[in-house]
Symmetry: C2
Subunit: 194 residues, 2 copies
DNA sequence: TCTTAAACGGAACGATCGCCCCGATTCTAC
DNA sequence: GTAGAATCGGGGCGATCGTTCCGTTTAAGA
């Protein structure tokens, strides 16, 4: 039933790693619309080599997004272990910063030319689960208002990333993020935090 | 110095109007990436006819954005005349709704493949001016915190439109908009409004 | 109605891009 | 070192899209 995938030849393994690394950087900088030839060029290989490891451009992009997503999920998991009241906020800020760094990730989250739920349903579920945990513990701790749900948070992440990516320097983000934070805070609490 | 533009032939004027109308609808639905041939097809004309009235696709898109922008500016102006404390909030909500309706406008505001400031500097300046007015009067009325500036508001508009367009139904918006509103409100005021 | 210039539309051109093919190269096992 | 298979790379194919060209059609004035 299961096939035994013969180990890659040394040069093939090296090239595969290079392509993955370069593709990550390139999608982050230029977004999913960047031509495969550009990635191949930057990696110092031919386009054929890219296609030998990844059957379509989509599959390469998907591999990158899956990796980035697992990093982000790990980060979220780390936050659940820290201060319960601050975990969600810290994670939201982190995601806003990711939006500035990684255009590919921003597009994946926004669903621009790529359906995350369809392409990586498992990772998407996991991400949603951690978000639910972070939100629940923040609400239990009394730092986030009780009338927002997990989908609201995911929506806000898309918005935050869009703001960061399409308008603005990091200074702008540092100014706007507190507005979202204040909006999520429990009304009447000491949420006037700077 | 000034050239006398001879009046268009009747069929030419009719076609030009059709193209403008159809282009507006099509850019709103599909975004700026829609092929010119598709617009021509929907308008029932040949691609050549589109290019006779608008020398490039860019110039057609720009014409549409300029028109939409002036509508939006008019709307903002109307809000300055109404309740000073609510004007900015009403306008923000309106812009969020526009994001759901008009993908082309959303892309223009987000700067996706189109530099608004460069393409329509006059309209951009005017828009920014009205935003400054709306913000100032809301701050004077005590409904918006004093530490946000006009660029923050423009950034939030981009985010709101992205949220509305890329994630959500109108139900979702009705849930998330109040979060932004609460975040903009003066801390400690009765901003816990639903 | 007839003439003529304006306008039409869609075929065609050139550029871009995803993807494939195949002769040349390089790794690896012996 | 050598055979043979795996891998390489880049030229090429087909599709898409912006833009142009030109033979045909049509409005408008006499």
């Amino acid at each position: 039933m299961t096939e035994k995938p013969r180990p890659l030849r040394a040069d093939a393994a090296r090239n595969r790693a290079r392509v993955l690394q370069v593709a990550y950087e390139t999608f982050a900088e230029e977004g999913a619309a960047v031509p495969i030839d550009e990635i191949a060029r930057r990696a110092g290989v031919g386009a054929g080599t890219v296609y030998r490891h990844f059957p379509t451009k989509e599959s390469l992009f998907q591999a990158i997004v899956a990796d980035r997503l697992s990093q982000v999920i790990e980060r979220a998991r780390a936050q659940t272990a820290a201060d319960p009241g601050e975990g969600l906020y810290a994670f939201l800020f982190h995601m806003a910063e990711q939006g500035a760094t990684d255009l590919g990730l921003t597009e994946a989250f926004a669903g621009i030319g790529f359906d995350l739920t369809e392409a990586l349903p498992e990772a998407e579920r996991e991400f949603t689960g951690i978000m639910a945990d972070l939100l629940a513990q923040a609400q239990r701790a009394g730092t986030v208002r009780s009338d927002v749900d997990t989908d609201d948070i995911k929506t806000l992440i898309v918005g935050l990333q869009a703001m960061r990516r399409f308008r603005g320097d990091s200074e702008r983000m540092r100014r706007v993020y507190p507005v979202i934070r204040a909006g999520l805070s429990v009304p009447g609490s000491a949420e006037a935090s700077r």
